[in-house]
Structures are given as C-alpha cells and as structure tokens.
Point group: C2
C-alpha cells in the first residue's frame, strides 16, 4: 500500500468494484451486506475492497453494535480532484485544437 495519502486515494480508485462501492455509498449509508448484494463476489471479497477504501479514508463505518452502516467520506476525493485540476487547461487546449481541426475538415468537405 502507498504511504502518502494522495497515492493511497488513487490506488483505492484503481478498481472498478471499489469505484462502484463509492458510487453506491454516495447515494446514502448502507450495511456491508446490502453493499455486497449487487456484486457477483463473496462477502469476504467485498469486505477486502472495503478495507482498502477505509485505509484510504474514503469510507468510514459506524460503531453501533447491530447496524454498522458504511458511509462515504468524500474529503480525499477532493484532494485527488484538486491535483488533477492543474491539468485541466492542457486537455481543454488539446480538445479545442481538435475541435477547430474537425470544423476545418467539415468546411472543406462542404466546400467541394
């Protein structure tokens, strides 16, 4: 496991099941059993993914004896987005260039 928080966040996000778990939790708290239901995997396998998310600080679990709901803690996602946002300008510029190139091609075709 990575030691710095940002690396731990990105490593936790590098799995489709863990991203699906976060998507589910973004709609509200739920138990581990309910959380595991839509996945075609064993409860221990889902629990293992949950532990990765918990270690990265993306999920917390309540302490009530009977009902220990899992909850999304979105702060690390904010850090990750902040890091990625610094590259926004670059991809936007590239998309702009691609778009104007496509427009140029279309103009040439309609001119024929």
């Amino acid at each position: 496991m990575p030691t710095d928080p940002l690396s731990a966040t990105f490593a936790a996000l590098a799995d489709p099941t863990r991203r699906a778990i976060l998507a589910r939790l973004s709609m509200g708290e739920t138990t581990v059993t309910e959380l595991a239901a839509p996945f075609e995997m064993s409860l221990p396998a889902v629990t293992k993914h949950l532990k990765v998310l918990q270690r990265a600080g993306l999920v917390s679990q309540g302490r009530q004896a009977q009902w220990r709901p899992c909850k999304l803690t979105p702060e690390p996602l904010r850090e990750a987005t902040d890091w990625l946002e610094q590259y926004r300008q670059q991809w936007e510029q590239r998309l702009d260039r691609l778009e104007s190139y496509l427009r140029e091609l279309q103009a040439r075709e309609s001119g024929q």
Copy 2:
C-alpha cells in the same frame, strides 16, 4: 495491471514519482535523461515508472532516432477528473456545513 482504462489511469497516478514526472512533462517535452535528473533513482527505475505512464496512455514518446522526447497526453486525466467531479457536490456540502459550524463556534466565543 488493471485492464479498464480508468483503473489504469488511477493506478498510474498512485505514485509520487509518477505524479512528479507528469508535473514536469506538463511544462513541456523532455528526454528520459533530463526527466530522470531531479530524481534520486537510477535511470532504469525512472524508465519503469515511465512505462507504467505510457501503458496508461498518459505519456507518449517521439520516434526520432536521436531525440525521443516524452510528452504528456492529458486525455486520460480528463476521464479521471470527470469521474471524480460527480462527488464534488458531496464534499462541497460537507465543507459548507463544517464552515457554518466553525462560524457558529466563533460567534458563541465572541459572545462570551
């Protein structure tokens, strides 16, 4: 290595050296040797990190014989940001609540 593109992007970002390489490349193209210079690691170690970034489609390398510059290809970063953006509302709401709670505490303290 993860098989879906988004997982490959997040896995590639889960390392401080690889993030530093992307930060350097965001300022412009450069050779592998120049890229490796600021890092306290061997050229093969840097090359290994570069290969992870290349497999994830984040870095491409020119084909000229003498000068094979590495270049940032920012599109996968856009996909990653798009995925994260869906959680923006959640962390913003949490930060808003925290902020108003802090303001309330301050107001109570200055009222004493």
